[in-house]
Each structure stands twice: as structure tokens, then as C-alpha cells.
């Protein structure tokens, strides 16, 4: 069995040697380069666009403005260049097209746009009187008012967090090529099948006319889930000009046209008995919406699913601002989770109950909103495993009780939790006449290890070595499969891959036992053992290699299978140590332990890397990460990785990842659940709770920069 083993990434060599070809690496004969011109006001109208100087740049083929851009509609997004209206700063106001990217960029810098600007609203504080409740954004369980009345202790606090941007290291890129009414797109896409549907719809052509490829991704974090308008515009330009067209976004452009995590404010009210039992949980939030969409993505799932509380009220309000539409961003439930897990820490101090013990006392096996039993939940094990590994029992709960030199030492914890997608998926597995195995499925490896895990699944199902298996992903020519979002890839697609591989195994075994030329001839098929590339008799006295069976058969054996899976909820517990230098308000995270219930662990190395990655994002979210908007212009002031700070190696301590590793009985993915987004969710609250433990200072506004701790 290789599933569960810490198998090294099968695509690692291709990635470090440059063999892995990403969307921006695609260069086609006769290709043109598109470059975006971004608007500089957030609200108002374009009054004129002067393209004369841009058109004069050598190599420029065309300059598109709202006056001459291809007409496009999108049922998902506001489509720029279709009129003069400006809805957010950094909106696309023109596109230059040239024979080299440098020419296109130079031309873009020469496009002169004039506006009739209006005063924008940039932040929630600008529009507090305009907060409203969109449809279907309120959930009430039990009687929260009565629950609060019955409480012996109540905590009510407000928390806030700034906007964030996805910032995958690979910039968004799109390369479009038309052949008649057939379109091929190399797209930085977390979902080639969804992308195929979007392109087909935009150009009113059959879905089968569109091929989308995304064999490798350098991260996405939700920002590459939809097809954004710039990709549709680039494809329309390629069609209109009759040549392939490439567009690669700059880092700065990615701060206005490929979405973000919304600015978020929340109020959490907890009512509890003296013994810590929750009697009511009221979670009111307000997130930023745009002028063109009231979709919201930072959901209060944790408050509705995590703790045993008979009376729950979540209300997710919105406020429309002159900013781009937000979207899912790595662990969208983290924003509200921060409020809940900080409030629980505050409650634990009010009650004088240890934070782990308080959570244990409110543990539940059933979903408190629906009353349904979770198929599998080992969160209590996570608390125990994490606390033991961390040494939590040695903690003196008194804030400011531990000092080391100039620094105060604090220990904090939080529950981690995120639900995951499960979308119907299909996969093909084919054993060639030479015994090698190919598996194809139109899901993606966003960088987390999908290639590796599916290689393990196929190898195990067939009983062949890993190096006999090749997995191909990210192409709509393959059987349709899930979006790589919402932690859903492994949960959605593993079952189909496994089923197809098992079907191939069954067929090959049948070829052997039914053929007099095989040493296994006449044996019952169900008794055949497959291992190490061989088929064995039950007593292992006779054997024949897959290669020999296939050579005799002389033709490939192939199967395509489909599978559905249930959505799930993966939980865990994270423990952190911080050191705070009160002289400078400086916080260092010096230790981290996380224990998780993710169902079966498919690969301890890649799953462990998810924990390290999640923890690292969590440190950034807690201590530094935020998008700075100029409040008067609603324009991002830090659209680059030099001033949009993310944690670097020196900010990240050794992180210990522990897995309960018990298969979820209802999961068709060999018992695995989706997991990727879980290990970020609790980290900001755990760090804030640790800072409180270190200093007695409670910071409720993210990020916890040093100016807030002076």
C-alpha cells in the first residue's frame, strides 16, 4: 500500500527543472499579446479615451476601448469595456494588442483616459447606514433570545478584519486560439470543466467546441476558480483579430480584477452556564459587497456546525461599496471563525475554564443546525493529541505569567474547522499493452499533490509500482471532474480514479484466469492477488506479470468510472506559542502544533505540507497580511508582494502536524475527506489568544501589527 505513505511528489522534478508547462509558458505561432489598461477612479464614467499615441507604438495591432471592444456578456461577473460606467478602481478601461508584450505594455502606458468621477465609498465605515440583509443570509436555530436569558455568563465582542488578496505565486494568464468556431484556451484555472462551460456560454458555441487546459498551477486559493472577464475578452480579441492571443496579468493588476476576501466586521455573543455549556450563540456579521453583486463568501459556518448549542443565530449582512466583487479566498470561513474562536477564549477567561476544556464541554457529534449526526468526527482526539504534544497541561492560565528575558511568552489555542466540497467526478484508467498505466481526469493539481495522490491510488488499486503509473490532469479532453476549490479535489475525484483502476484490474485478472496460456488459468478471479506489478495465485506459488498478460492480450484495457461523494467537515485543534517584546510590540510565533481529523490521510507528506502551508498563511493573516485601500479613491495602495506582506521563512517556526487518520465511513474517496482549508482557520485566533495570554492585551482587529501592542 502506498496510500498514506509520505510519497514524494511525482511532479516535483518537472517543476524544479522547468519541464512543467504553465499557461503563461504557452507560445503559439503568430501569437499576439494583450495588455490591460486599468482605470484610476472607483466610481463615475469614462468620458473619453485617447488611443492615438498608443496606436503609434510600433507593433501595436489594435487598441480596444468601450467603444470598439467585442460585445460580451457574463452571467457571473460585471463585464468591463461594454460601457462607460466605472464600478471600482482598477477596472479594465482599455486593452492594447501588439506583436510583443513590451510593445503592448508601452502602448498601454500611453492610453489617456478621462473620467467624470464621483465620490466613492471604499470601506464599511463609509456606509454604515447602508448595511442590509440580503436574501437567505439569516439562520436561527432554537430560541437565541431565551438562550441568552438563560445564560449565567455572557460575552459580546466586536471583531474586524481587512480585505485580503489571493496572491498565488503564479500570475493569472490566458492564451486563446481559435480554429473556426473551436476554441482552445490555456488558462490558469482551478476548474477546466467550469471554464469550458463559461467560454462556451460567452461565445454561444457548444461546450464540446471548447478545450481548456491547466496541467499545472502555481496556487490559486480560490482566485482562479471562475473565468474572469479579462480571459473572455482575450479570447474575443483572438477571434476578432484571427490570431492566437496571450494575456499575462501583472501582480498589481491582480489586485482589482480577480477578486479578494471582503472586508469583514462581526459581533459574537456567547451565552453560557457557569460550567461552560453554551446556551446561545449569536453571530452578526457585515461584509463588503460590490455595486454589481450581492454575493457573499465569508460564511458563518463554524457558528452553525461546530459546537453543541441549542440556540444559534447567524446573520450575514452586507454593504455595497465602490470596490470589486469579493469571492472565495483560501478558507473563506476563516474570517468568521476568527471571531468565534476569540470569543470562546474570552469566555474561557470569564468562566475560569481552560480553553481546551471549554471546547470539550461543548463538543457535539451532531450538526447543531440540522440535528444530523456527523458520519465521523474525532475532534476530541484532536484536542487530546494536540494538547499532549504541545505540553498544554503545563500552562499557567494567568496572562503575563511567563517571561523570558525581554519577552513575554504566551500559549493559545483554537479549534480549526472548514467544510469541503464534493462534486460528481469521473476518471479514466488505461493499461497499455506494455503494462504501463495512464489515468486521466479533468480535475487539477493546484499545487497540493493531486498528481501524487492519484498515482498512489491507481498503483494500489492495480497492485503496480508507482513508476508504472502516469497521471494526467487539467484538460477538458479528459473525463469531466471537480473544480479544485473548497478543499474538494481529493474528496471528489479519488473515488472515480479508484473505481476505474479497480475495473481495469478486474478486466486484466479475467484475461489471465480465462486464458490457458496463463499460469493463473482456471483460478477464481476473486482470489487473485495483485502486487508489485504481478498477479499471484492465492498461495503465491504461481504468478504472471501485468506486462505478460497485456502483451498476450495485445491491446489496452481501459475503464472510465464516475463517482459521487458527500460533502464533509474536517476539524482539528491548533496550539501556538508566541513571544511578545513589550518594548516594541513585537510578536514572534515560536511554536506550533496542529492535530487534525481529515478522515484517511492519503499522503502524510503532502497532507503535512498542507498543515505547514495553512499555518504559514495563518501567521501572515494574524500578524501582517492586509490590503490597504485609500479611503478617498478606493484604490489599492499596496498592490505588490513588497508591501502586501505575507509570512516569510523567518516568521514561521517548526510546525508539528498530527493526524487522527481514521477513515470517514461515508467517504467514497477511500475514507478521505477534504482538508486543505482546515489548517488555516484557527491560527489567527490561536495567535491572538496566545498574545492575550502573554500580555493581557486582547486585540480584536486583524492584523496584530506592533502599533496595536505598544
Amino acid at each position: 500500500m502506498t496510500v498514506g505513505q509520505p510519497v514524494e511528489r511525482v511532479d516535483g522534478r518537472a517543476k524544479v527543472t522547468g519541464d512543467a508547462r504553465y499557461a503563461a509558458d504557452r507560445t503559439l505561432p503568430g501569437m499576439l499579446y494583450s495588455y490591460l489598461v486599468m482605470g484610476t477612479i472607483a466610481r463615475g464614467r469614462v468620458t473619453s479615451v485617447d488611443t492615438a499615441a498608443a496606436r503609434a507604438v510600433p507593433g501595436v495591432v489594435e487598441v480596444f476601448t468601450h467603444e470598439n471592444a467585442p460585445r460580451l456578456t457574463s452571467d457571473q461577473h460585471f463585464m468591463p469595456l461594454q460601457g462607460t460606467q466605472i464600478h471600482y478602481n482598477g477596472q479594465i478601461v482599455a486593452i492594447t494588442v501588439a506583436t510583443t508584450p513590451e510593445q503592448a505594455q508601452e502602448a498601454a502606458e500611453l492610453v489617456r483616459v478621462t473620467y467624470a468621477p464621483e465620490t466613492p465609498k471604499a470601506v464599511i465605515a463609509d456606509a454604515l447606514t447602508e448595511v442590509y440583509l440580503p436574501a437567505n443570509q439569516e439562520v436561527i436555530v432554537g430560541d437565541p433570545t431565551a438562550g441568552l436569558a438563560a445564560a449565567e455568563v455572557t460575552v459580546t465582542q466586536n471583531y474586524s478584519s481587512p480585505p485580503h488578496h489571493h496572491n498565488p505565486i503564479e500570475p493569472h494568464a490566458t492564451v486563446a486560439q481559435w480554429d473556426g468556431d473551436h476554441l482552445t484556451v490555456h488558462e490558469t484555472s482551478q476548474g477546466v470543466v467550469n471554464a469550458q462551460r463559461t467560454f462556451a456560454s460567452a461565445f454561444a458555441i457548444p461546450q464540446t467546441n471548447v478545450r481548456v487546459l491547466a496541467p499545472y498551477l502555481g496556487g490559486g486559493f480560490g482566485g482562479k476558480s471562475p473565468v474572469w472577464p479579462h480571459s473572455l475578452l482575450n479570447a474575443a480579441i483572438a477571434r476578432q483579430l484571427g490570431r492566437p492571443a496571450k494575456m499575462v496579468l501583472t501582480r498589481a493588476q491582480m489586485y482589482s480584477i480577480v477578486s479578494h476576501r471582503a472586508e469583514f466586521r462581526q459581533q459574537v455573543t456567547l451565552g453560557a452556564k457557569r460550567d461552560g455549556t453554551l446556551t446561545a450563540l449569536v453571530h452578526l456579521s457585515t461584509q463588503q459587497l460590490s455595486r454589481t453583486s450581492e454575493n457573499m463568501y465569508s460564511h458563518s459556518i463554524s457558528s452553525r456546525m461546530l459546537y453543541a448549542c441549542p440556540n444559534i443565530h447567524t446573520r450575514q449582512q452586507g454593504v455595497r461599496l465602490d470596490v470589486p466583487t469579493s469571492r472565495f479566498m483560501r478558507s473563506p470561513q476563516m474570517a468568521s471563525h476568527f471571531g468565534l474562536e476569540t470569543a470562546l477564549d474570552e469566555l474561557s477567561y470569564q468562566l475560569g475554564i481552560d480553553p481546551v476544556e471549554l471546547r470539550r464541554r461543548n463538543y457535539t457529534d451532531v450538526n447543531p443546525t440540522t440535528g444530523e449526526r456527523f458520519s465521523s468526527r474525532f475532534l476530541l482526539d484532536c484536542y487530546k493529541l494536540g494538547a499532549d504534544a504541545f505540553g498544554w497541561s503545563r500552562r499557567n492560565p494567568k496572562p503575563g505569567s511567563t517571561r523570558d528575558g525581554h519577552e513575554f511568552v504566551g500559549w493559545g489555542m483554537a479549534t480549526e474547522a472548514h467544510d469541503h466540497n464534493a462534486n460528481p467526478s469521473s476518471a479514466m484508467v488505461r493499461m497499455a499493452a506494455d503494462g504501463t498505466v495512464l489515468s486521466q481526469t479533468a480535475t487539477q493539481d493546484i499545487g497540493t499533490g493531486t498528481y501524487t495522490v492519484f498515482t498512489q491510488v491507481v498503483a494500489d488499486a492495480l497492485g503496480v509500482p508507482l513508476n508504472q503509473v502516469k497521471v494526467e490532469l487539467g484538460d477538458t479532453n479528459f473525463p469531466p471532474a471537480a473544480l479544485s476549490a473548497g478543499s474538494g479535489t481529493i474528496a471528489s475525484v479519488t473515488g472515480a480514479v479508484n473505481a476505474a483502476a479497480l475495473a481495469v484490474r478486474t478486466a486484466v485478472v479475467q484475461l489471465a484466469v480465462s486464458n490457458p496460456a496463463s499460469p493463473l488459468h482456471g483460478l477464481p478471479a476473486e482470489q487473485i492477488i495483485t502486487q508489485h506489478g504481478y498477479l499471484f495465485s492465492p498461495d503465491r506459488s504461481r504468478r504472471e506479470s501485468y506486462r505478460a498478460v497485456m502483451a498476450r492480450h495485445g491491446a489496452p484495457v481501459q475503464n472510465t468510472s464516475s463517482m459521487t461523494n458527500a460533502r464533509g467537515y474536517s476539524t482539528g485543534a491548533v496550539f501556538v506559542e508566541v513571544r511578545v517584546d513589550p518594548r516594541y510590540g513585537r510578536v514572534r510565533v515560536t511554536r506550533g502544533v496542529g492535530a487534525y481529523d481529515a478522515g484517511r490521510v492519503m499522503n502524510h507528506k503532502t497532507a503535512g505540507s498542507q498543515v505547514i502551508g495553512g499555518f504559514t498563511w495563518g501567521i501572515g493573516n494574524a500578524l501582517m497580511e492586509h490590503t490597504v485601500l485609500d479611503r478617498r479613491t478606493a484604490r489599492v495602495v499596496n498592490p505588490n508582494l513588497s508591501t502586501y506582506l505575507l509570512a516569510v521563512n523567518a516568521d514561521v517556526p517548526d510546525i508539528q502536524a498530527i493526524f487522527v487518520n481514521k477513515p470517514d465511513p461515508v467517504s467514497t474517496a477511500l475514507g478521505a475527506r477534504g482538508f486543505g482549508e482546515t489548517p488555516i482557520t484557527g491560527v489567527p485566533a490561536a495567535i491572538g489568544n496566545a498574545i492575550f495570554h502573554a500580555t493581557g492585551r486582547r486585540i480584536r482587529d486583524l492584523p496584530f501589527t506592533q502599533d496595536k501592542l505598544l
Partner: protein, 322 residues
């Protein structure tokens, strides 16, 4: 990105002659210039690559350490003479950028790097540094990172170099192809001409730095506070050099980064210490003297407090004050 010509002269005279073209710029490590050009914040018609000039040596002779302008940040930081005699210079360099950038970037370019002010770097925003008279959005906008010292109604952008703060603390002299400029006279405050950041003339080439080896410089240290552990510009930085006789401060240099529009020396803070014992009281008075003229904006008032705390912490460490 505009087309530009490229030349790689082999001697200083040729380099300076080529740089006399209007719109020309020297390039060494390129770690800042290329970003500025790619982002459209700056454009040049001629790029003069000076990496072929023999300006990379670091030598100590006659009580002076001479650092060539093309010496890489990593080489200067690790040089034994620098580490021994100018610890603040080595520390400031090691607190700068990342190892990869330090391997590329030359020290001559380092002191000329442009501000990280988000408005300056954004080609879609007005900025008096980019286009004098167009307006400064930082004054009333997002200014958490901006200067509280040395600003004007035209510009409050912070000078980003750590090395420059350290060089100022050790009485460095800037050597150019035509003259010697005391480091204290090299950078200028923005006033009404924020596009002017130094006294260098057009096409004038920094060839190196001279730093006297003194007991003052030998006891020097750099403290940098920032929003992440590394690869990040200073929120507040302090360089201090201290020469004590017994418990009395014989001489002191106090220079600051992250808080001012140019590498900032505070004679007032130094005067509060010079000739006096190093105590909690005198250190506190030095901090007060430093910020007496500070002008704060909506988001950067915390720097006034933080820079005094940094000065206090650094002087206590350096002076052994408990």
C-alpha cells in the same frame, strides 16, 4: 515599458560620458531600477551598465575603510574589516532585503534606491516625486508607513535604505567621479522639490564610500523594527554609535530610518547625551529631543512612540544600562 539603449562601458570616464545623455541611468544590481521600469514608475532612454567597472573592492588603509560602489551588499556585510570596525554597517545590511537581493544589489545603488511609498510606485496615482506639482495623496491618505520627520507639504515618503542610516552614523563620505560629499550632505529633504533626493548631478557616478575607523564606529549597532521578521523595510530603525569614558558619553551618533524623508541624524538627541551619563533619564531626554519637531498624520503617530522605544532599547543594550 519603453525601449531603451544599453551600453556597458569598461571605465569610469566612459560611463560618466555616456550617462551625460538626457534620460540616461546607471544600472548595477538592478534590484530597484528594473522594478521601477517594469512598473512604469520610471522610464529611461539609455541604460548604462556599470558592472564592468573596477569599483567592487573593500580595503582598509590608513585608518579608513574604502568600499567600492559596486561591492555587493552581501560582501560588505561579511567583510572582516567592516564587521570589526563598522558593526552597524554590517548589521544594517544583514537586516536589509533577502539573501538573494543582497547578493545582487550594489551598495552605491542601495543609497539611491527610491521610496516604497505606494503612491510613488503606482503609475495610476499622482505623486510630487514623480511629477512635481501633481499632488501628494499620502498627506491625507494611507500614511502608516510615512515620515514624521523631514516631511513637507509636498512629500512625506520615507527613505528606504538601511545602509544609508548606518553610513550616516559612522561619518561616511560619498566618493563620486568628481568630488567627495560628506554623507550628511548627500541626501536632501523634499521641501518643494521632492523629485530631488540627493545632491548628485546628472550623470555623476558614485564610485565608493570612505569611512574612518574610530572607536565610536567600532561600538555601534543597528535595530530595525518591521511588520515581519525579514525581507521588509523598516517601520522604525535606529543606528547608534557610542564612545564612553567611564559612565560618561564621550561621543555619540544617533541616526534613524523608517521615520524620516532622508536618512536622519538627530544632533539634538546626541546633544542630550554627549558629556552626560547614560541613564534612563538622559536616554528618555534624547528620545524627546529626537521627536520634538515630529509632524504626524492620520496613521503614523505611533512611530513617534515606537522610535523612542527603539532608541531606548538600543542605547540600553549598547551602553549596558539596565
Amino acid at each position: 515599458m519603453k525601449n531603451f539603449t544599453y551600453a556597458a562601458p569598461r571605465n569610469v570616464a566612459d560611463a560618466v560620458r555616456l550617462a551625460g545623455q538626457p534620460d540616461a541611468r546607471f544600472i548595477a544590481g538592478g534590484t530597484d531600477l528594473l522594478n521601477l521600469m517594469k512598473d512604469g514608475a520610471q522610464s529611461h532612454g539609455a541604460i548604462i551598465d556599470i558592472n564592468g567597472l573596477a569599483l567592487g573592492d573593500i580595503v582598509q588603509r590608513n585608518g579608513v575603510i574604502r568600499i567600492g560602489a559596486l561591492a555587493r551588499m552581501s560582501d560588505v556585510a561579511a567583510h572582516p574589516a567592516v564587521r570589526r570596525s563598522l558593526p552597524v554597517v554590517s548589521e544594517a545590511l544583514l537586516n536589509s532585503a533577502s539573501p538573494q537581493i543582497r547578493n545582487m544589489a550594489a551598495v552605491g545603488g542601495n543609497v539611491l534606491q527610491r521610496t516604497r511609498c505606494g503612491y510613488f510606485r503606482d503609475s495610476g496615482t499622482t505623486c510630487n516625486k514623480k511629477a512635481p506639482g501633481s499632488g501628494c495623496p499620502a498627506l491625507e491618505g494611507e500614511n502608516r508607513g510615512h515620515a514624521v520627520l523631514g516631511g513637507s507639504d509636498h512629500c512625506i515618503a520615507v527613505h528606504p535604505s538601511d545602509l544609508a542610516v548606518a553610513l550616516l552614523a559612522v561619518d561616511a563620505v560619498v566618493l563620486t567621479d568628481r568630488r567627495r560629499i560628506p554623507f550628511a550632505d548627500f541626501h536632501v529633504v523634499p521641501g518643494t522639490t521632492p523629485d530631488q533626493e540627493t545632491v548628485l548631478g546628472h550623470g555623476e557616478l558614485i564610485t565608493g564610500f570612505e569611512i574612518p575607523v574610530t572607536p565610536l564606529a567600532a561600538r555601534s549597532r543597528y535595530l530595525k523594527l518591521r511588520d515581519r521578521a525579514t525581507f521588509e523595510f523598516a517601520v522604525v530603525a535606529v543606528a547608534a554609535a557610542l564612545n564612553m569614558r567611564g559612565n560618561t558619553v564621550r561621543d555619540v551618533r544617533l541616526t534613524f530610518g523608517g521615520v524620516a524623508t532622508k536618512p536622519w541624524r538627530s544632533p539634538e538627541a546626541e546633544d542630550a547625551l554627549r558629556g552626560k551619563p547614560l541613564t534612563t533619564t538622559t536616554i528618555t531626554e534624547a528620545g524627546r529631543a529626537l521627536v520634538r519637531g515630529a509632524v504626524t498624520r492620520d496613521h503614523n503617530a505611533f512611530k513617534v512612540d515606537l522610535v523612542q522605544r527603539a532608541l531606548d532599547g538600543l542605547l540600553r543594550d549598547l551602553g549596558g544600562v539596565r
